[in-house]
């Protein structure tokens, strides 16, 4: 792991997570929280959608190629 930061979370939430990890048989609470955060962050990023922007000219060029290769009718 590279550089790390401390983030404060409510004590009650922390113990709730500990109880959950006990039930799941997970040993490392810290790694579990990191995984949860990564999953949540990734989900929000996905919701932002694709950032692939094509100009009209580029889109037409691609459509022409796809048609000429038989991928589009």
């Amino acid at each position: 792991m590279g550089e790390e930061f401390d983030v404060k979370i409510p004590k009650a939430l922390y113990y709730r997570i500990v109880r959950l990890t006990n039930e799941l048989g997970v040993d490392d609470v810290n790694s579990f929280i990191i995984d949860l955060l990564r999953e949540a962050v990734s989900r929000y990023e996905e919701e932002l959608g694709t950032s692939v922007v094509l100009s009209e000219e580029e889109m037409e060029k691609i459509k022409d190629r796809l048609k000429s290769l038989g991928y589009l009718d």
Binding site: G2, D35, R38, E39, S42, E58, L66, L72
Partner: protein, 382 residues
Amino acid sequence: MVSRPHGGRLVERVIPESKIEHILTESKEFFTYRVDDVRYRDLENLGYGVYSPLTGFIDSVELESILNNMRLANDLPWTIPIILDVDESFKSKVGMGDTVLLKYNDIPVALLHVEEIYSYDKRDFVKKVFRTDDPNHPGVAEIYGYKDYLVSGSIEYIPLYRDGFEDYFLRPKETRLLFKMRGWRTVVAFQTRNVPHMGHEYVQKTALTFVDGLFINPVLGRKKKGDFRDEVILEAYKALIKHYYPKNSVVLSIVRYGMRYAGPREAIHHAIMRKNFGATHFVIGRDHAGVGNYYGRYEAQEIFQEFPDLGITPFFFKEFFYCHGCGGMSNERICPHPDEMKIYISGTKIRSSLISGQRPPSEMMRPEVADRIMEFGDPFVE
């Protein structure tokens, strides 16, 4: 909506055709460096965004992060280092800020804007990437044969090299638009390096049952003697799709890529590549990207647990076989019958049938596929 590119942005670093001549004139003053087949294919993938968000060969900070954390320094999952090795002579002639012209088979293929030249520990590299330092592992042997330094820097791809498969290659920008125009919101990608047999077909069709479209993405890369030739693989797939797949449910398009045989780590890398093409799901079968007995049968599936933020969903499959008890294709998760009722698909048996000019058993390969392969006479790499 198709998958968001890895890291949020699809990178394209390709010199437009209108500017190539000018760039080539200018590049006569640049130091020239020749790259091998694998690096050329990496350059194409960097250029067209298959490796998004990478913009070039990685530096020492990224290498350390990938080796130790299986992530880029910005925390994004990334498991296979994309590197270019250079020797002492390169190091003595090229410095930070220089531009180098990269050539493959004497054809200019990219400009490299040098940022760092650094040494690396090959043993540490192979133990982390391949989980072994056994020089008999082909990926390990390749790294041990690399030169002693790595060079990092962004690249600009020069699309001049031709291998005859240009019409079978769709760039990520093109597949993304194609998926969108077909109305596919979910797309499962299937990687292959072989001609299709019944096991492949049933994995693909089972996956397709749950999504809108199937993206069959054969890897064209270095081959060893006895492998099926690239054109044979493509024609065999075209025959299968024509006779056995619903129209407009499948896209067949290649990717040029040099396999590393890094098993679990490479499975993640393959998933990221398909995410950049726009796939939302990716098929991982038995011993994906493995070689010999270096990895467990389903180790490449287990590693996905470590990447809840990958942004592409794996579909895990067990081995398919024909079962007389079930009366069709089945797999160990759904079949209750004993082994003697099963016909396991054997690559060796399929090959020997094809070599002798006979169709393999229909439980193993579709007759139309077998016929198309046999039309080639000798379908294998010499």
